[in-house]
Structures are given as structure tokens and as C-alpha cells.
Amino acid sequence: MEILTSRFGPIEMEADDVIHFPTGLLGLADCRDWVLLADARNDALAWLQNVQRPDVALAVVSPRRFITGYQMRVARRELVSLELSDVSRAEVLAILGKTTRAITLNLKAPVVINLDRRLGRQVIANGDLPVRYELGGERSSFRRSA
């Protein structure tokens, strides 16, 4: 099947590629089916592209790659609907945002995916975590979008 995405043009995929989020995302409850796409230019970056709404896509990264010692702490009830037989096999992704200064990671509400069962959920992590954790340092320029 094909999605005519607004960012990436037409994308071909199989039914097996689809990850189902039974409760969608917070504020996007109707957006239940997604595919995970690798970014063509930046190999640390992926995109959760919505199937029902071709204009909806979220940039995601593995937070461990950017934050040393990152550990997701979340109430067990949050993960039950993902049918994980082994929590350590869950794929944890942080959604990118931005401020005027930097790209940010949403550490408060990561996305957890059970790749084997093709199920996903946005969970709310325990603790006083930012929805916009600024990634700092090495980037010398920040290009604003048109």
C-alpha cells in the first residue's frame, strides 16, 4: 500500500510495516497507525509517519544515543497494552521538537514500541522531566525553516 506523505512524497509499505497505537498519541487520539521511516540524510534520525494523515509525521531518535545513562522510568500499567514479554526488548523513542535555540527531545512522554507485536504507545515517564530537553553543544548553525 502507499501513503502520499507531505514530507517525503509517496511511500510504499506492507501491512507488516504498520505499528498500531491503540490509543493514538496524546492529543492525536485518532492517529493510530504509523510506520517508522529512517531519515534519508541523518542516520540518527527516524520518522513516525502517520498512515491515516499523510501530513502528520514526528521526528524521533533513540534517547540513549544523546543522553548518557538514559533510563525510562514508567508505571507498569503504562506498558501493559504493549504486550511486552520482556520490557528490555521495547524500543524507546523520543520525539523531537525545537526552541529558537536548539532541537529538543520530549523526555517526559517517550514513545514505546513492541516491534515484534507491532504495537506502540506514548507513555508518560515518572519524574520531573522536560517535554523540551534542549540538545546542546556541537551544532554551529541552526537553520530556521522557511
Binding site: 514530507r7 517525503f8 491503540p22 490509543t23 498519541l25 496524546l26 492529543g27 492525536l28 531519515d39 540524510r41 541523518n42 542516520d43 540518527a44 534520525l45 520518522w47 502528520v56 509525521a57 514526528l58 521526528a59 531518535v61 540513549r64 544515543r65 544523546f66 543522553i67 548518557t68 500499567r77 503504562e78 501493559v80 497494552s81 520525539i95 523531537l96 521538537g97 525545537k98 532541537i103 520530549n106 517526559k108 512522554a109 506514548q122 508518560i124 517535554v131 523540551r132 540538545l135 546542546g136 553543544g137 556541537e138 551544532r139 548553525s141 541552526f142 537553520r143 530556521r144 525553516s145 522557511a146
Partner: protein
């Protein structure tokens, strides 16, 4: 909004399977106990709304901005680099 008065240890039932109980009242702080199926998320409202707003903003992120993302060196630790 439906407004009901409850005392400590009294409860409210929402639908068939959500029960909210007043666990404790101390000054102007109320402790609520919530019994709900695990698939129904339950969170403080301000947290929920902050995440909704952030998801909405994140959904508008342009790939050109996202691709500016610089991957740290293998250790991933924050170190000051010259220049």
C-alpha cells in the same frame, strides 16, 4: 462540569469501570485514588496538556530542522569542545 461533594473515603463512579475515591483531605490538598483499567491513561491535567501541546508542535517540525541534529561522539556525554 458535573460537581459533586464527597467526604474522605467516599467515591465516584465514572462509566462502568472507573472509580475515583477521596483517600485523604489535608488543608487545601486532596489525595485521590483512581481505579481504572490499565489501558486508560490517568495523569495530572497540566502534564497531559503540556504533552498534547508538545505533540502538536512536534508534528510541525520541518525535516530541514530535524536534520540539523548532530549526533554526539560515541560516549554521548556533554563535554566542552573548543571553538
Amino acid at each position: 462540569m458535573l460537581v459533586l461533594s464527597r467526604q474522605r473515603d467516599e467515591s465516584i463512579v465514572i462509566g462502568d469501570n472507573v472509580v475515583v475515591t477521596i483517600v485523604d483531605i489535608r488543608g487545601d490538598k486532596v489525595r485521590l485514588g483512581i481505579d481504572a483499567p490499565e489501558e486508560i491513561p490517568v495523569h495530572r491535567r497540566e502534564v497531559y496538556e503540556a504533552i498534547q501541546r508538545e505533540n502538536s508542535q512536534a508534528g510541525k517540525l520541518d525535516p530541514r530542522d530535524a536534520r540539523e541534529l548532530a549526533v554526539p561522539e560515541a560516549s554521548g556525554s556533554d563535554t566542552d569542545s573548543p571553538g
